[in-house]
Amino acid sequence: MQRRDFIQLSGLGIGSLFTAGVPVFGNNVSADYLFDASGWGAGVDAAAKKKLADVALNTAKSQGATYTDVRIGRYLQQYLFTRETKVQNIVNAESYGIGIRVIANGTWGFAATSDVTPDAIARCAKTAVSIAKANSRLQTEPVQLAPQKGVGEVTWKTPIQKNAFQIPVSEKIDLLMKVNGEAMRNGAAFVTSNLFFINEQKYFASTDGSYIDQDIHRIWPTFTVSAVDRAAGKFKTRDAISSPMGMGYEYLDGLASEKIKAPNGLVGYRYSYDMVEDATLAAKQAKEKLTAKSVQPGKYDLVLDPNHLGLTIHESVGHPTELDRVLGYEANYAGTSFATLDKWKSKTFNYGSKLVNIVADKTQPNTLGTVGYDDEGVPCKEWDLIKDGILVNYQAIRDQAAILGEKESNGCCYADNWSTVQFQRMPNVSLKPGAEKRSVFDMIKGVDKGIYIIGRGSYSIDQQRYNFQFGGQLFYEIKNGEIVGMLDDVAYQSNTQEFWNSCAQLCDKDDYRTFGSFFDGKGQPSQVSAVSHGSATTRFNGVNVINTGRKI
């Protein structure tokens, strides 16, 4: 098992991760080393990987496995951390190895090794089979694996324009220093900024006859700006409203064509992010928050920006429709789900209002979930989770399809490293935009008493995903169709079904963009995954808002 470190840093807007840290896999290496042709995994071409994979497939079979899959992975990470005028840390990490999963005696077994040589692979395959056989004594039902026709020798690459790993570190530091400088010039007392880049080079082979070579890229630029009023003993922060993306460095081009205009000088970013502009706005807004009016608790109509709503979708639709949670596999950690099989079977469970159409996919361009094939060799696709407000499906992988009476997997199996075992992970889960033409300006005009919320803030939901509470980065009071000023101390509390049934209006496809979670945690030992959630700005009527201000 590889070393897995956590970088502990304060002031980071870290996603749904339970610990306040950033996971790092593998060994620290120099930036240049990541492209060194002599790097552990770099020089190994698909033909050589096929030979190594076949060692595992053949050994496992000879030991009695009835199914085997092999993942040879090289995982690259580059993380940059800065505060004000200083570079705090630059992490360049590489992790290379092989994970072998088998079914023997109707039971899963898994083993992994960083020693990617034929002898070590054969030993590892034997270990996987022996673990399967040992655990089969405790099992009551054999694994039922949905069939998957082999796809032969194929490749898939994230269609990036600029490989972030080939951009010089100095250029990245220059950008972050500019971000920090503009934030400070515009009134920030403190600022931290970060860039995260991930490249997964994954080779998958299985006894179904698939040999899949994939090259996957992800990027996340983010920052936190703090404003401080020392005399009053007060401080406020504003995090970036960027989104992590399944893109290359081109996401940071800041193209005007990808900016979506919103009220009060706010800007939404679609497939291109202007980090310096956002930091400038953030500093001004953090200062404004110091004197913003404290919210009067009560019922409000909420106008939720996609950069905020994404997390609500993630928590209240994404997680409860994970079939492993529904079945009880996560009962001791993340929990189970209110979206039980009987509700799905009834075909009448009103998850939301008729406007609510939520799809799962691993195919949307530029998103975190998008790949060609999942980590058990299933081609990726799109499917409905909620159709016209009704719960119609779940997120299922090959060993779960039979439970739903399905003949194939949805293709959403993932492992965060070669050393970890793949399991069901959330695909992109997105709310479809409305068919009627409508901008956020149009939507706000129709609201008498409301709050416009932008950005991800505090978030918490129970272990079956009924009761939630969400904050945000920016809150604006809406009165009689107009924004009248900034609010503070806002959080809304609701119940998942009640909330989605209060969904009253949607903006159209021109307002649609994705939010993302870069380090979503699940499983024991915990694994991370990255997932996007698309939506247009959406209105929810009569939601309970509380005031979170306190004195200590």
């Binding site: 098992m1 620290n28 570079v87 099992q139 009962a331 509470q469 509390q493 309970n544 509380i546």
Partner: protein, 455 residues
Amino acid sequence: MSILTKDEAKKIIDKALSYAKADETSVNLSGGRTGNIRYARNAVSTSGEGTNLSMSITAVFGKRAGTATLNEFDDASIEKTVRRAEEVARLAPENPEYVPMLGPQTYLPADPYSENTAKIDPDFRAKATFNSLDPCRKKNLTAAGYMEDSTRFTAIGNTKGLTAYNRETSVEFSITVRTADGTGSGYATRDVTDVSKLSTKDATEIAMQKAMASTNARALEPGKYTVILEPAALLSNVDASLMAAMMNGLDARNAEEGRSFMSKKGGTTRLGDKLFDERVTIYSDPTNLEVPAAAFGGGGGGGRFGGGGSDGRPQEKITWIEKGVVKNLSYSRYWAEKKGVKAVPPPANFIMEGGTQSLADMIKSTEKGILVTRFWYIRTVDPQTLLYTGLTRDGTFYIENGQIKFPVKNFRFNESPVIMLNNLEALGKPVRMGGNLIPPMKIRDFTFTSLSDAV
């Protein structure tokens, strides 16, 4: 062999340091073995074991530092890695906050290691799991649990003459038991240094009782209640928690920069202020036999609160809060030097003083209140006041006239540990939780803001 002895480790570290040409060089050698077994729906779902041994070498020129890592230990590989660290250091941006490495230090005689834990094998894990599964199967209850054991060491050394070694073992176990119809759920968690002190059966039986007793929960109106918070509700291995939030917030720099709950009007801090009830006393001590911790920070020897970093600062017995008064804040070495104070590292463990009452005694002395097994999905709402939100989970009960009357539906809370530790009614006998000692607490006016249907 992934657990090296002090002498074996020192030999490798000295070899690496003998190749060093930078102004300063430090070496961190760590390794160990972790094993785990996970079960759900009354059957094992995953199980694994892995070992690692790796060394990281940091070279420093002036204020430029570079790090390189290796996991092969022949002389040529070691020398190559030292050179690589030096190359990286020359290319690195200057860190204006760099503080030169420490020389030799004196450490307390801590040894958080148990041979019983180091000897755990797959058969032991299977047996421990059977002891938890079997009683659940017999009562038609559904078990989901996880056990992870770890045996590891960390050794550090540098060209200034600092040398340190720690070996450490730990086992964490958690179990959630649900009734077959899903209307009741109970939880228990344990962590130990010495696995002979862990009974998966005993912990499972508590979770079973809670599961069976929590069916048909009644709804109470949200509002302010007297609560008895069990230790697992105050501190968690797998989530944020009220007590960890407070202990993690005792950082001097954030406080002095005006962006912490420890910051005060006018730009000063609350250091020296009486911020909590006078019964609140919290200290750290790596030599405590119930919660032993490394005598220095960093790597495999570091505590879950960050330890002292890999800089080799000693972990000492230190009081953070005494009779409600904030006595100490932790410092980075840079900030301490700038302020001209001692560089107190963040702690590797903490011990909160309590009373002698058991949980049962605390329930007996409660007229009206709510017993909370644990909280879940705990997140910061306002860092200024340390306001947190989260929900009760896996066993929440109404107490009246000293007796548990009936299970209640789960609540969402919005509360600050600062307010909570002012509204203190009683403290029970401290128990180990996540490598720390923490007493169950009775708190008045704890704020529940809404109800949840979750079981």
